[in-house]
């Protein structure tokens, strides 16, 4: 039986406390005491779309960054397609594409094509193969006609598509997205969601784990949602299941109820 696409077991993460002034020099050596994740466990099956939701500071981005091998967990274990993100980070990196919702992270003076060609080289894709792959992925993202323009002339929506194209260059089976539609206008966001769900997940069987604050987006894309609060998983079910378990009319009400915010919960019920 193949390993699940994503497996997270009793993951804990503590950061050193923020220090200011001259004491900031001690920060790299300070004892990690600030809890960001407290024993998070879940699995994501291949081809599934799962959302991470929760209030600011709940641990969503920390969790995604651990899976993306950018942060080392304090305790516990996480694997991507069976590759341990800490012990076999380079194996794990072959399995996923990572995109954060910002419109930065490119070389503005280079064209879209030059940017993608550079990141393709960083992913060990040979030049001839990269050329084909760039054309294919950019075409899928709908930016094939704009690839020879300097990236600094791209709109925010195009930057998002370029970011997603970069994440897909090496043909990963898993996509990790942190607030993928942040700063997109409503129409561009709807378009982007359609691309994620219909094209990537349904047609190409990509596994999707994404963090989002946009609840309509979660309801539209996610097969399951994981609600995090103060570093703990407090609910993990389909969006409809989470609503049903709390008696709330919508996800907003369910989150307010589950994250112990009784005033908002009552108002939304």
């Amino acid at each position: 039986m193949p390993a699940p696409a994503i497996s997270v077991e009793a993951l804990e993460k503590y950061f050193p406390p923020a220090l200011s002034g001259w004491r900031a020099l001690l920060h790299p050596f300070a004892r990690p005491t600030e809890r960001a994740l407290a024993g998070v466990s879940f699995k994501v099956e291949r081809g599934e779309a799962v959302a991470l939701m929760g209030p600011n500071g709940a641990g969503k981005s920390t969790l995604l960054r651990i899976l993306a091998t950018l942060i080392i967990p304090t305790l516990g274990r996480a694997t991507l397609a069976g590759f341990d993100v800490e012990r076999d980070a380079s194996g794990a990196r072959r399995q996923f594409g990572y995109h954060t919702g910002g419109d930065e992270g490119f070389y503005g003076r280079l064209s879209g094509r030059e940017n993608l060609a550079f990141f393709a080289a960083m992913n060990n894709i040979r030049r001839a193969a990269a050329k084909e792959q760039i054309a294919r992925v950019a075409g899928r993202m709908g930016i094939g006609g704009d690839l020879d323009r300097q990236v600094r002339t791209f709109s925010t929506g195009m930057m998002h598509r370029l970011g997603l194209a970069r994440a897909l260059l090496h043909g990963p089976a898993i996509l990790l997205l942190d607030e993928p539609t942040r700063s997109l206008d409503p129409l561009a966001a709807a378009d982007f969601r359609h691309l994620l769900k219909e094209d990537l997940v349904r047609q190409h069987g990509v596994t999707l784990l994404f963090a989002s604050h946009t609840l309509s987006e979660i309801e539209e894309i996610a097969d399951r949602a994981i609600l995090l609060d103060e570093g703990r998983v407090i609910a993990c079910d389909s969006p409809r299941g989470i609503c049903a378990s709390t008696g709330a009319a919508n996800l907003e009400g369910a989150i307010a109820c589950l994250t112990r915010n009784p005033v908002t919960a009552e108002a939304l019920r």
């Binding site: 920060h27 942060i71 996923f96 992270g105 080289a121 960083m122």
Partner: protein, 273 residues
């Protein structure tokens, strides 16, 4: 296979930085002019300070202009070596490309080394521009130069300086900004390394400190090769000293860098500005 892959990636970094630099063609022209002003300054300074007493302290067959020109041009190598690695990290953090690079199948050491490829190539070009201005306009004439010897000294210097540069990048990884170690090394090297005057005019205790710095051997070797046409046998002590520095500094700096990298992944500050 891995080496080939790494070289291909270094090539991709070079291509990236060249393409970006190509977008600022005016800057290249201005830098060429700036080099001319620098060389002219040394020329007129040398006319002012040249004296029989000074000539006795200089390598045989050279004058103060040639001495200072070589010192100034090759001091840049130390400066760029110290800055290139942490500058590449800093730029990647600033333009938010570091995170995108770190999730690719390229390790951070390759990212840091690869990003330094273009600055070193640009530096080699700048050095040539300095020497060319000196030769074309101000009579700098390294006719007897031992060019292969100069190249060997240069390569050994880059290896030795790279160790210091990687230590500097480790500091930048951990503390992000304000790298006092870089400025202390550059300040000490400028004062004691023999950029503008021979080390022999310094008091004895300072001469001993100068002997603990790779720049001293680099400038001595380079001047001997370029100004005196020294044979390989005469260049060997400077060359060997630089290799010893490289053999000590490179493994230590790579270990420190690796530790710093793990530390920043633990503290979660790898991509912080």
């Amino acid at each position: 296979m891995n080496l080939l892959r790494t070289l291909r990636k270094v090539g991709a970094f070079f291509k990236r930085d060249f393409a970006i630099a190509r977008g600022y063609r005016g800057a290249l022209l201005l830098e060429t002019l700036e080099a001319l002003f620098g060389v002219a300054t040394f020329y007129y300074l040398s006319k002012f300070v040249d004296s029989p007493e000074l000539a006795r302290e200089l390598p045989a067959g050279s004058n103060y202009f040639a001495f200072a020109l070589v010192g100034f041009a090759f001091f840049d190598y130390l400066s760029v070596s110290l800055g290139a690695f942490d500058t590449s990290l800093e730029e990647a953090r600033q333009n938010r490309t570091l995170e995108a690079l770190l999730v690719t199948q390229t390790s951070l050491p390759v990212i840091v080394f690869g990003s330094a490829a273009y600055p070193f190539a640009a530096l080699a070009l700048r050095t040539c521009v300095y020497l060319a201005w000196g030769a074309l306009i101000f009579g700098f004439a390294p006719r007897t130069a031992n060019w292969p010897g100069a190249v060997m000294i240069l390569l050994a210097s880059i290896l030795a300086f790279a160790g210091l540069g990687i230590l500097s990048a480790s500091y930048s990884l951990l503390f992000k900004r304000g790298n006092p170690a870089k400025w202390i090394v550059l300040g000490l090297a400028g004062l004691l390394g023999g950029m503008m005057y021979p080390v022999t005019i310094l008091p004895k205790p300072l001469q001993m400190v100068a002997r603990l710095m790779p720049i001293t051997y680099s400038l001595e070797g380079m001047r001997a090769a370029l100004l005196d046409g020294a044979a390989w046998r005469e260049l060997w002590p400077s060359f060997a000293a630089l290799l010893v520095f490289a053999a000590i500094l490179l493994p230590i700096s790579l270990a420190v860098f690796s530790w710093s990298l793990r530390r920043t992944k633990i503290t979660g500050t790898l991509t912080h500005i």
